[in-house]
Assembly symmetry: C2
Amino acid sequence: MTVTLADVAARAQVSPATVSRVLNGNYPVAVATRERVLRAVDDLDYVLNGPASALAAATSDLVGILVNDIADPFFGIMASAVQSEIGGPGGRAGGERMAVVCNTGGSPERELTYLTLLQRQRAAAVVLTGGASEDPEHADAIARKLRRLTEAGTRVVLCGRPPVPDTGAVALTFDNRGGGRRLTEHLLRLGHRRIGYLAGPEGRTTTRHRLEGHREALAAHGVEDDPALTVHSPYDRRSGYDATDELLRRAPDLTAVLAANDTVALGAGAALRDKGLRIPADVSVAGFDDLPFSIDASPALTTVRLPLQEAGARAGRIAMGKEEPPPGGVATVHGELMVRGSTGGPR
Amino acid sequence: MTVTLADVAARAQVSPATVSRVLNGNYPVAVATRERVLRAVDDLDYVLNGPASALAAATSDLVGILVNDIADPFFGIMASAVQSEIGGPGGRAGGERMAVVCNTGGSPERELTYLTLLQRQRAAAVVLTGGASEDPEHADAIARKLRRLTEAGTRVVLCGRPPVPDTGAVALTFDNRGGGRRLTEHLLRLGHRRIGYLAGPEGRTTTRHRLEGHREALAAHGVEDDPALTVHSPYDRRSGYDATDELLRRAPDLTAVLAANDTVALGAGAALRDKGLRIPADVSVAGFDDLPFSIDASPALTTVRLPLQEAGARAGRIAMGKEEPPPGGVATVHGELMVRGSTGGPR
DNA sequence: AGGCGCATAGCAAGCGCTTACCATCCGCAG
DNA sequence: CTGCGGATGGTAAGCGCTTGCTATGCGCCT
């Protein structure tokens, strides 16, 4: 039924060992023999049996990339960058490394399950992107799992997520707090005092850090932090729209809306416009991440640019062992404030 | 070093066979025994060896999803939908199905390599999303590969891509031609006669079909199809921007710009604005796909909405054998014209 | 001419798991 | 009290490939 190494060997009149060797190219094989084997492979349409090979060799060339939401360009951009460094098919000729992205949907259970699956496959490396859940139980489970992975020789890199101590995982953390602070400072400097904040889902590191940055800035400027001005909602456009309605209901006097992410900011902008409010004349709006579409919003979105591409690429290189991990296994990636048309002085 | 089935068996005082059976749960095992085994698994932190298991069982639960550009929400949305139907971790309790997305970058070679990799892993199913290359040689190679996959029992589903006859692959095709036609008709009805067309990269089915629809509409209305009005460029914002500059240089008298995709349309909009042209007062702009951000553009983008989510979900269900393939193995998915603020009558 | 060493190729022992088939053990019918 | 069938558990034969070690053949040195 299916063609095996032995079949190829028979047709090429050599031993299975020889076929294996020409296929892996890590052992001298005479040119004539090699060609005979290659021809046989071709004639028979032979395809290596991955599991058998991985079992015998006790290694695999799988690299897993975990993302919270694959439909969100924030993750797509990082995943793409990681993957471009993995090489993947097309990288080096023989480098049959396979980078696979796994969509956790932000669920810690799924994250854990995917890690186990990757562990089962004896993955060569795993890159976890984006913020993490803060549920202590899950955080613990994840930490344990990461430790086991690194112990088994799997390289683990966190990209855009806080370090997890004592796991051997390398972390490229985003300076979410600093970005949040700078964004709020920008609005404060423009004269805003009543700033609505769309904070993202609760219980996630990204949400908390950006919010903390926001509050730091408020405190530093002696502005009261009215709890009514903060609304939590998922990281998508629709939720941003709804949350903005809520915000407007609670505090009709706000002069600015800060969103924890560009997608949410877009939803906020739509909600404001639908209420007849002009941006930034009536209300300023700002986001976070600087996704590609943000510059095309109306008006262009003020936001914090995160070098997703660069960070992802670096994570990929570290995962491949092509680059030294940062000293201490932790590096912080900073964002840059991009002031554009969506923010201005309060009315 | 690593814990194996045998270790667990020893600790639970049963045979390896029994352990395997409780793990796979497809054979009666006394409750007491099962619990003893599970405890041992837990105590030892045992993780099944995927390759070994796949080899012995001669099956795998891998499902591959091929996308052209993972950073593009067009693909992200489909991939996410496919994956939600696969179940993935978290689907059913025991359903350790792993959906992996593979980023081909639009390169036929990579596409082929990923298919081979998936074939190596004896994937349970493969979903190919988005348009395909039209290079006859590659098309042939892909067709051959798909045939071999289906012959080996791998379910193959094409989502948003034309059918490939005689391969056993099920196709959910997008009506790109019809969408292109309706979009152009919309502009023609508004009175436009000089319509620039940003066509996407050459040699791809999506590009060609949308362009053909555009030309059909022009022909049907007796409007001359000036070659200078069509520019090819990659499917990204930057390219859309540049191509629009080129278009404006070639035909300063155009009154509308039609883009083969929303992302490109956004770039076009930016280019027009930077030239001081107002949308739609001076130039109308339209896109294709209706990605989530399109409604937030300035002004909101007229476009053709493709039910990416629904199509992806259906593809996933078919791939899982949860839904009957359409009769003949081919179904056409239609788009819906969404008229919004970015199009209006010519100046 | 004899021997040595290198370049190749083959042998065979697993890698860790699944599963067909067989062995037990027990309860209960006869 | 014997025998039989169902419920469990064990035995062992692979699954297809990799790789350490061994065997072979040949050119060339002394």
